[in-house]
């Protein structure tokens, strides 16, 4: 080959380009010919077929929505059911005059403007052969009236559909969540094909968390219809795959007992099986009827729920973040024991208040306003927990430092979402110097460490977190992600086991013995519930301040507004030697822990009775 010279040979390039243009043109013509032959085949050869298809005997594709999975409690009690519901629908391609039909229907059944608006929205999203719902839940009379007039209402049908029903309404509203009609936002994020013929989707809670499994897979059938839309025969059928049933750890009976024990007060109960991490009861009161949401709650009902000062829509068990108060003391005590800062014999002098070195301010013990003095001249670990001595824990907190407490408490599940299989869980706050710098951009003050030592100040925990922490104590260090679901169809739901928390056996013994003393001890803060108890329980009371009380002012329960009263808390597990249940209770503005511990007793009684009986 001749040597290449670095000069452009324009004429050669033009020749190359001409050749390329020619080849390109040939390819273009060939492809155009293919296109043309395709259109020729469709429009000339197969004209008859397609013409007929578009004319009368139409082959239709009908989606077959899957049956939504049912939800059961641990004993097989049905908590979420599917019931037939009758829906008035229109098939647009068969309706002669939509406006006239709507007017005629308005005379037969009650159709609100709201129904009409939603119908018009749906019309835009659905295909003409699909059934577009106009009115849900027709009663028998309405069905009859439509049926009688059907001959003059082409395109109007009544569809029977299975629809979610929650037999126990408010009792499980927060534990299960609910389904509702698919909105346009959800429509954008789901596979529309999977939801053809389905009008509902899990909105919150378990219904949302397990939506993919509960929903199932859509099926379809192709049918041949005559000009009136009557199905002549099914040509092809592809069955839907029903959603998986869900069996929960929840116990219907325990849930009911816990719900009733709260007796309409604002509060929450979470009960966990410490051996499995399964949630036995998840109660938040006041509650609401989740059936209201299934077909779109009316504006009036919704604003009533939304604007109620008791916030019934708020799931206190996972969304409510409260100061845990003295219920953290057993864990702080574990931290002190493990760090070697205290031992069971170690004592702290308790004049009823505590002073930081170099600070004139007095940090008072709650006992001061009752007795005018401290718990005892010298307080040891057992007494500190049993009588909930603040001074002992002020001293320990100062020596542990806030970051020391943060690091020790973290593995108990505080300060981070527990990972429970429901929605809307909140993380609480486990303060540290780093947290305060990041969240508030402020330095940490020594006095704040003392507040953390008694579960006040910045510290916040959800009732679920407290129950999880309690079950860590009950199992002496076994940590599990809490789970509501036990079985998904035929598959067990894995409860993730986390790294266990190692601690000296003697330290667990000391703390758990002190917690036993809370309930069974002569001066235990919850000794009121030990009467007639035929098992042993370990517990810890807590009182969470709702408003700050000035150092010199006195907290007077009667004088202050009910909404400003202290929250009452209680954590407990039982039986002492082989725990099968761990419970956390909060009663908002209950005044003190005395509002909470009877609830825990009732719940644990019911559980242990059910187990043995």
């Amino acid at each position: 080959m001749a040597s290449r010279i670095a000069l452009k040979d324009t004429q050669r390039e033009q020749r190359i380009f001409a050749a390329r243009t020619f080849s390109a043109l040939l390819i273009v013509l060939a492809l155009l010919a293919i296109l043309l032959s395709r259109y020729y085949t469709l429009q000339i050869d197969d004209y008859e077929t397609y013409s007929t298809a578009s004319e009368r005997n139409r082959v239709q594709l009908q989606p077959l929505p899957p049956k939504r999975g049912l939800i059961f409690d641990r004993n097989g009690v049905l908590l979420a059911d599917n019931r037939p519901s009758y829906t008035l629908s229109l098939i647009l391609e068969r309706v002669d005059n939509l406006d006239e039909t709507l007017v005629a229907l308005t005379e037969l059944v009650e159709i609100t403007d709201n129904d009409l608006d939603r119908f018009r929205n749906r019309v835009r999203q659905r295909r003409p052969y699909e059934h577009v719902p106009l009115r849900f839940r027709l009663d028998d009379d309405e069905q009859a009236r439509i049926a009688v007039n059907r001959h003059r209402l082409p395109g109007v049908t009544i569809d029977a559909q299975l629809q979610r029903h929650y037999p126990y309404g408010p009792l499980f509203a927060h534990a299960l969540g609910y389904v509702g009609r698919i909105n346009s936002e959800e429509l954008a994020s789901i596979d529309e094909a999977e939801y053809r013929g389905t009008f509902h989707i899990g909105k919150i809670g378990i219904e949302r968390r397990y939506e993919a499994d509960l929903h199932g897979r859509v099926g379809y059938q192709t049918v041949e219809t005559n000009a009136h839309g009557r199905v002549l025969r099914v040509l092809e059928r592809f069955d839907p795959r029903p959603g998986k049933d869900l069996i929960l750890h929840l116990d219907y009976e325990l849930q009911r007992v816990a719900h009733n024990a709260l007796a309409g007060r604002r509060g929450a109960v979470v009960a966990i099986d410490p051996l499995t991490g399964g949630i036995l009861a998840l109660v938040s009161t006041p509650s609401f009827d989740s059936n209201l949401f299934v077909n779109g709650i009316s504006t009036r009902d919704y604003s009533a729920l939304r604007d109620s000062p008791d916030v019934p829509l708020f799931n206190r068990t996972v969304q409510g973040q409260y100061p845990p108060g003295s219920t953290v003391k057993p864990i702080i005590a574990m931290a002190g024991l493990e760090a070697g800062l205290i031992d069971p014999e170690f004592t702290v002098p308790d004049p009823g208040w505590y002073r930081l070195p170099g600070d004139r301010r007095r940090y008072r013990d709650w006992i001061l306003r009752i007795r005018g003095t401290g718990h005892a001249p010298e307080v040891d670990l057992k007494m500190a927990i049993a009588e909930s001595c603040d001074v002992y824990f002020y001293d320990l907190a100062r020596r542990l430092t806030v970051d020391g407490m943060h690091d020790y408490l973290e593995p108990y599940g505080l300060g981070a979402r527990t990972g429970i299989d429901t929605t809307a869980e909140r993380p609480g706050v486990l303060p540290s110097t780093r947290w305060k710098r990041l969240a508030l951009n402020q330095p940490w003050y020594p006095g704040e460490t003392l507040s953390v030592g008694i579960g006040q100040g910045y510290m916040l925990a959800t009732p679920l977190q407290l129950a999880v922490a309690t079950s860590v104590l009950a199992t002496r260090g076994e940590r599990r992600e809490p789970r509501l679901a036990q079985w998904l169809g035929d598959d067990p739901v894995e409860a993730t086991l986390q790294d266990p928390l190692y601690a000296d056996g003697a330290n667990w013994d000391s703390v758990i013995e002190a917690m036993r003393e809370v309930v069974h001890g002569e001066r235990g803060t919850a000794k009121a519930i030990s009467r007639n108890m035929d098992y042993e329980m370990a517990g810890k009371t807590g009182t969470a301040q709702v408003i700050g009380i000035a150092q010199d002012a006195v907290y007077d329960e009667d004088a202050i507004d009910e909404r400003h009263r202290n929250h009452g808390l209680f954590i407990a597990f039982a039986p002492l030697d082989a725990p099968t249940i761990a419970v956390a209770v909060i009663v908002e503005n209950g005044g003190g822990s005395s509002a909470a511990y009877p609830v825990a007793r009732t719940v644990i009684d019911a559980w242990l009775a059910g187990e043995t009986g």
Binding site: F17, A24, L31, L36, R38, Q43, Y50, Y220
Partner: protein, 379 residues
């Protein structure tokens, strides 16, 4: 140096007749007439496809006005200047694509837009012109046919924006842009052996990828793409409906505004990607033939302009734009008729939508710039 080389043989080219008005305005009159004809035909179909909505026609008409203005403006630049700008446009486009990847706004799971405050902007549109222009600039300055080194550089130049666009994810646009770049390389005259060789390698590497690399769900997606009729509730529905619409049109069609499939809303996207089905149903095979004939005339004129171009840059650019225009036609019409996978490609200058019309007409603006190059240089 490149300019010097390029201008040499033409500087003395004879002017056989005085420039007409169109020439002075840098307009290629035959091409303009054909485009106007296509525009009119498209608006006629759109009126029917949009449910006989004059609003839709007026809106689309406004886009066309804007598009013709863009075309006219671009036609005024000399290819020399366009060539010099090409790499900068390319860099700007790639920068904006990176911007989309990091700061872009999305809709329905795809992140394609840059929010510039006043309006949203899709940088991949720039690349539809920037990639062929840059390939033309790069190869136009080389000795042709290009050596493997330069071909490799071109492929890299094409791959970068395409990779970014695939990630948005927008497979359709990415493939169109890749095609436009590769057409440039093709027109520059790379060897047939090279073309067939890479095609063979692609086919051979697809097999192990299918066997060992792809996950089941990815395979399923590809199968659905290749055979949309298997996905009866999704893409398959569209194809069944569009085929019914086309087939029931017959030779004469059902008449303007009389298409039952289209008018009863059986046909999805009837005024955008699937508009050819409306045309086929209402105007029949006659109407399809008419449209293809118009397209063919435009393609022929565009090829002609490329042949007449005075620089490698102009030739490569024209060839690339013309072939890309054809790909739009082929992919869209093939997809609606069930020949090709369903990818979101509009029918050029007929489907409703502003962006594609403006981009396409900008491409024709470049063609016109090239078509009047001779006079500009000659005088």
């Amino acid at each position: 140096m490149a300019e010097y080389v390029r201008q040499m043989p033409d500087a003395i080219g004879p002017l056989t007749r005085p420039p007409g008005l169109a020439r002075q305005l840098h307009i290629d009159l035959p091409l303009l007439v054909l485009l106007l004809g296509l525009t009119a035909y498209g608006l006629l179909v759109l009126y029917s496809a949009s449910g006989q909505s004059m609003d839709a026609v007026v809106r689309q008409g406004r886009y066309f006005v804007l598009a013709y203005v863009v075309m006219f403006v671009l036609a005024q630049f000399s290819p020399v200047r366009l060539s010099r700008w090409s790499p900068w446009g390319y860099l700007l486009g790639v920068t904006m694509l990176l911007g989309v990847a990091f700061f872009g706004v999305g809709a329905k799971g795809a992140q394609r837009w840059l929010d510039l405050g006043l309006f949203r902007f899709q940088p991949s549109e720039i690349m539809k012109l920037a990639v062929p222009m840059t390939v033309a600039w790069y190869l136009g300055n080389r000795i042709l046919p290009p050596s493997p080194k330069y071909i490799a550089a071109c492929l890299l130049m094409i791959a970068v924006p395409c990779g970014l666009i695939i990630r948005q994810p927008d497979l359709g646009t990415s493939l169109l842009i890749a095609a436009s770049g590769l057409f440039g390389v093709f027109m520059a005259g790379i060897g047939w052996r090279f073309i067939f060789g890479s095609a063979l390698v692609a086919v051979l590497s697809a097999w192990p990828a299918w066997m060992f690399v792809l996950q089941d769900y990815q395979k399923q997606r590809i199968l659905t793409l290749l055979n949309p009729e298997s996905d009866k509730l999704g893409a398959g529905w569209n194809i069944i409906q569009s085929k019914t619409a086309i087939g029931s049109g017959g030779w004469t069609g059902k008449g303007w505004g009389q298409g039952t499939q289209s008018q009863l809303d059986f046909l999805p996207e009837s005024h955008t990607d699937f508009i050819i089905a409306v045309l086929a149903e209402e105007f029949g095979l006659r109407g399809v033939l008419g449209l293809l004939f118009l397209y063919l005339l435009i393609l022929l004129r565009a090829f002609w302009i490329g042949m007449q171009a005075q620089s490698s840059y102009g030739r490569i650019l024209c060839g690339s734009i013309t072939l890309t225009f054809f790909v739009y036609i082929f992919v869209n019409m093939g997809m609606v008729a069930g020949l090709l996978p369903v990818v979101g490609v509009p029918l050029p200058l007929v489907s409703a939508g502003g962006t594609s019309v403006v981009t396409l007409m900008a491409g024709f603006g470049l063609l016109m710039a090239v078509s009047t190059e001779k006079r500009v240089v000659g005088q």
